[in-house]
């Protein structure tokens, strides 16, 4: 809120300059900056509605600086005519409106406000409308109490009824918008019609206008929760509704009414009728809160003398009674009834006025037993390290995407988590595949002439589940396109085996044996270049349909790994295997293989026939259908003889020929 220094000086005397004042307020919890022309801009915290007025700020300054606040003078001359001859008020729903007050001002001339008022309001950031509205706004700024002025002539029988709306009741508010109400909404009505949504906004049907002669001024305390609901449900936020939902000062309801009525009479050269309506559910009395000075010291870790605690509380307007040295009884003024309910609230008050920066820093003990290690977090870091080492750049993409992104990636929108109130449709569905963000990134970069794209992301994907919350899964995804080399002199582009090698590195780096790899028909991948890692993920060439729909210029390769599943494989502890001391013997087999015979089957056959004697088997040369395998034989307990190797090797060759139909070269 804007706080002109000269206005502030009507409410509290102080000798600080603007900068110093701003500094003091900021360090007491009211963040303040200095604007030109001796005006402060004060940011009011949501729990400090009491400070949201010129008087509220003045009270804070008094508490901080020990200068006294000034009391406001009321220039009120009531006419002899009594108010009850002119207005009747009936409050039917006192729970939503515990206090409703009104005054009547007669013979008002509605017109422009005088220059002094226009200027004063303008410095506070308020636009002048006419003298009646300006008077209401003036009091709102001064005391923080919203009020509403009605044209009495437009209210049927000058009879005001405060009640819940009838379900389906329609109302057009001052902003010209129509609302359909339900019984949760409190309205101000006359016997025929709604004249205001209580505490939120008035209606044009009773608005003060140039021909208004008699003004009914309303000042009330509306139930904060009810106002908040109404404002939310009707999507109707006003200066008045935000004040009421945070809670206004119970006592200021009357004070503002009196001052407002007097000001309207003064500005409009009218007369305030004698007396006021006060429909009061029940008078409020200040709350008592116990405060233990020891507890203050215990929470803050600062040796604040009890005398200083008492002094701070008194300056803030609290009444303090010392029961004994270990206990104070603190009476909370009504203007702080919204935020001060408990001992801890008082401790905060003492701390902020005492000064946070006067509380000495300490270091807590954090060396205690029973801590846990987040091994999944460690795994993610390890995976990230390996990926970066393998030449991939980490990306971070939004967890929510648009239907178009799903479509481009060929991913179904069934079984997705949707956001009910997205900012845009492009950010409305939680991702189910890590691919979507990778693709978006690839397209973004390709459109900026970047041809070699090697990226990965570690993030969560989301699926509907039977539980209250969706299933969340940690996933690693990578997308590779173009050349991985540092310079253009390096020849060759990424292919299926490049990606596979990268994943082999990942598993090796994590100390996990690569699970079984088999061809798969995953819809994201190109048939024939698509592999599944059993229970862990998929990799291969991106399906040409997806490449086309994303307009990727080059074939892209992709992998997706379920990190939660991978994590389970890592839990096993590592055991050391002795280094062999006896020599190994290698034998090679060169053969022609049938086109549909997979490497895996050849290796399995060799391992099966070879048994424990075969330590390792791998292809080392391949041209078209001609492949050469090397078999390494070893016995960990002794040196193998020529004869036993030969006979085992012969058995293997025979099995390959007879069972797998290979032809030995």
């Amino acid at each position: 809120m804007k706080v002109p220094i000269d206005w502030l000086k009507e409410l509290v005397s102080f000798r600080a300059g603007s900068d110093q004042l701003a500094q003091m307020l900021t360090m007491a919890g009211l963040e303040t900056i200095v604007l030109p022309d001796d005006v402060l801009e004060v940011d009011i915290l949501p729990n400090r509605a009491d400070a949201w007025s010129m008087r509220g700020i003045a009270r804070e300054i008094s508490a901080i600086t020990k200068f006294k606040t000034k009391s406001l003078k009321l220039k009120m001359r009531e006419a002899s005519k009594k108010i009850n001859s002119l207005v009747k008020v009936e409050v039917r729903d006192r729970d939503l409106c515990p206090r409703y007050m009104a005054r009547v001002i007669e013979n008002v001339k509605v017109g422009d406000s005088p220059e002094w008022l226009k200027k004063k309001l303008e410095r506070a950031g308020i636009r002048s409308i006419n003298n009646v509205v300006d008077a209401v706004n003036y009091l709102l700024h001064e005391l923080g109490q919203p009020m509403h002025a009605f044209d009495a002539a437009l209210i049927k029988d000058q009879s005001i009824i405060v009640r819940r709306a009838n379900p389906g009741e329609r109302v057009v508010t001052l902003d010209g918008k129509e609302h359909i109400l339900d019984s949760e909404v409190l309205v101000i009505a006359d016997p025929e019609k709604v004249i205001a949504v209580g505490g939120v906004m008035g209606c044009a049907n009773t608005e003060v206008n140039p021909s208004t002669k008699t003004v009914i001024l309303e000042s009330a305390f509306f139930n904060p929760v009810s106002i908040h609901k109404t404002s939310k449900n009707l999507k109707l936020i006003s200066e008045s509704s935000v004040r009421f939902e945070h809670g206004v000062d119970w006592d200021a309801v009357e004070e503002a009414l009196d001052r407002g009525a007097a000001l309207i009479a003064e500005l409009g050269r009218g007369e305030v009728l004698k007396g006021k309506v006060d429909a009061l559910a029940k008078p409020r009395t200040p709350r008592l809160v116990e405060l233990r000075p020891d507890r203050v010291i215990q929470i803050l870790g600062a040796e604040i003398p009890v005398g200083d605690m008492i002094s701070i509380l008194k300056r803030l307007g609290f009444k303090v009674k010392k029961v004994d040295s270990r206990k104070l009884k603190v009476e909370i003024p009504l203007f702080r009834s919204m935020d001060i309910e408990r001992e801890i609230d008082l401790i905060e008050e003492i701390a902020r006025i005492w000064g946070f920066n006067r509380i000495e820093t300490a270091m807590p003990n954090t060396a205690f037993a029973g801590k846990e290690v987040d091994k999944e977090d460690l795994l993610h870091n390890r995976v990230r390290e390996i990926m970066v080492g393998c030449g991939l750049i980490e990306i971070q993409s939004y967890s929510m995407l648009g239907p178009k992104d799903f479509e481009n990636a060929g991913v179904s929108l069934d079984r997705t988590i949707k956001i009910a109130n997205p900012l845009t449709v492009e950010e409305s569905i939680m991702r189910t595949h890590i691919l979507t963000g990778l693709l978006k990134t690839a397209v973004h970069n390709q459109n900026r002439q970047i041809e070699d794209i090697f990226i990965f992301e570690i993030g969560k994907v989301f699926y509907p589940s039977k539980e209250k919350l969706p299933e969340e899964k940690w996933v690693l995804g990578g997308l590779l396109m173009g050349s991985p080399f540092m310079s253009a002199l390096g020849k060759g582009e990424v292919d299926y085996f490049y990606v596979k090698g990268l994943l082999e590195n990942l598993f090796k780096g994590l100390g996990v044996e690569l699970p079984k790899i088999a061809e798969t028909d995953n819809f994201l991948l190109q048939p024939g270049k698509a592999a599944a890692i059993e229970g862990i993920g998929i990799f291969g060439a991106l399906h040409p349909d997806i490449q086309r729909s994303c307009e990727l210029a080059k074939p892209a390769f992709f992998f997706e790994i379920d990190l939660d599943a991978l994590f389970k494989l890592i839990m096993e502890e590592k055991r050391y295997k002795p280094i062999p001391i006896f020599p190994s013997v290698s034998r090679d087999i060169s053969m022609f293989v049938p086109s549909d015979l997979e490497n895996q089957r050849i290796v399995e056959m060799i391992e099966k026939v070879g048994g424990e004697m075969v330590e390792k088997v791998y292809p080392f040369d391949k041209y078209k259908d001609s492949v050469a395998y090397r078999i390494v034989y070893r016995n960990p307990e002794r040196t193998l003889t020529e004869e036993e190797v030969n006979s085992k090797h012969q058995a293997i060759v025979q099995a390959l020929v007879s069972k797998l139909m290979v032809r030995i070269r």
């Binding site: 750049i393 109130n421 970069n445 900026r448 993030g459 209250k468 969706p470 002199l489």
Partner: protein
């Protein structure tokens, strides 16, 4: 005989000297020192020489043999050297050509800042805990002393999945989840993604927070100040001033906003700090007794502090980035800089 020996010597030394390759040199060695060499013949025929002359001839043969051996060694060394030189010359490369191998990848700047921040707290003795990104309104709000129909809920513009399920607006729900399951003492940090219905140059609907909390007997506001001051010094530099300013969060009381001296102007006032000289980095405070009640801790026995920071904001400050969108656009020309 003597003449013959000295002739052999002369001839051999000449041939050796002129040998152009290691192969020719080896030929020379065979010719002058091999089994069929003249010198060996002479030695073999020593028996035919008179006993007076025999030692003399023997001595000169040996002398010549040594001289030839010496010459061979020297020549060999020279030829080896020349050979190597040639090889080196042939292997010369343009040292200014680019290197071989695959490019190194890089960590996302947000990861780097997150890991740096986590590292500081881990070294202080905190442990890492995580929670779901899609949360119930209980963990995101009610458990944290933010009742429904209370204006304080409006402090967070929330993305909802349904009425009671939402994208967490902060990492604070992890506080409740951990405290429900475990008993003090606890020193926890909770990193993760959070979501708000906000989007402009400094607000992204997706961003990252690091939450932290400590619960034990006799934890004080002074401890909070000490921990966070130490963190900020390690993160931004020892010389940077830190200040604690009263603020409001429903789940802490007293609550403090923590500012660090502006990294760009060192407190003199600039565009980055909006002329205040300070940068707001952290929200923090003593855990509200209502939060302890929600997890059935006795607020008389235990006290604690909690804090939370925006990793994106810290990264923006650290690297001088003025638009948060850059983090999520993933332009490789941006990412490669980190």
């Amino acid at each position: 005989m003597e003449d013959k020996i000295s002739r052999i010597k002369e001839e051999a030394l000449k041939v050796i000297k002129e040998a152009k390759t290691l192969a020719l040199l080896d030929e020379a060695r065979v010719r002058y020192l091999g089994k069929k060499s003249e010198l060996l013949e002479i030695l073999k025929s020593l028996g035919e020489i008179s006993s007076e002359e025999r030692p003399k001839v023997g001595a000169s043969v040996n002398e010549v043999k040594q001289a030839i051996e010496q010459a061979l060694r020297n020549r060999k060394a020279i030829l080896l050297q020349a050979d190597q030189k040639k090889k080196i010359a042939a292997e010369k490369v343009d040292v200014t050509l680019p290197g071989k191998g695959i490019k190194r990848g890089s960590y996302h700047p947000l990861t780097q800042v997150m890991e740096e921040a986590k590292g500081i707290f881990l070294r202080m003795g905190f442990e890492v805990a995580e929670g779901p990104e899609v949360e119930t309104d209980y963990y995101n709000f009610d458990g944290l002393n933010i009742p429904s129909h209370h204006p304080s809920r409006d402090m967070w513009s929330t993305l909802f999945i349904s009425e009671a399920v939402l994208l967490r607006t902060h990492t604070s729900p992890v506080q409740i989840r951990v405290m429900e399951k475990r008993k003090p003492p606890l020193a926890i940090i909770a990193p993760g993604r959070v979501y708000r219905r906000d989007s402009d140059a400094t607000h992204s609907p997706v961003f990252h927070q690091l939450e932290g909390f400590l619960v034990n007997e006799k934890v004080t506001f002074g401890d909070l100040k000490g921990t966070l001051t130490e963190f900020l010094r390690q993160m931004f530099g020892k010389e940077k001033k830190v200040r604690f300013r009263p603020s409001f969060f429903p789940f802490t009381e007293p609550s403090a906003e923590v500012d660090v001296e502006c990294v760009m102007c060192s407190g003199k006032g600039c565009r980055l700090c909006k002329d205040t000289g300070w940068l707001e980095i952290l929200g923090s405070g003593m855990i509200d007794p209502n939060v302890f009640k929600a997890v059935e801790y006795d607020p008389e026995k235990f006290t604690g502090y909690a804090f939370g920071m925006g990793i994106d904001r810290i990264a923006m400050i650290k690297y001088g980035i003025d638009n948060i969108r850059l983090f999520y656009e993933n332009d490789l020309r941006f990412l490669e800089q980190f």
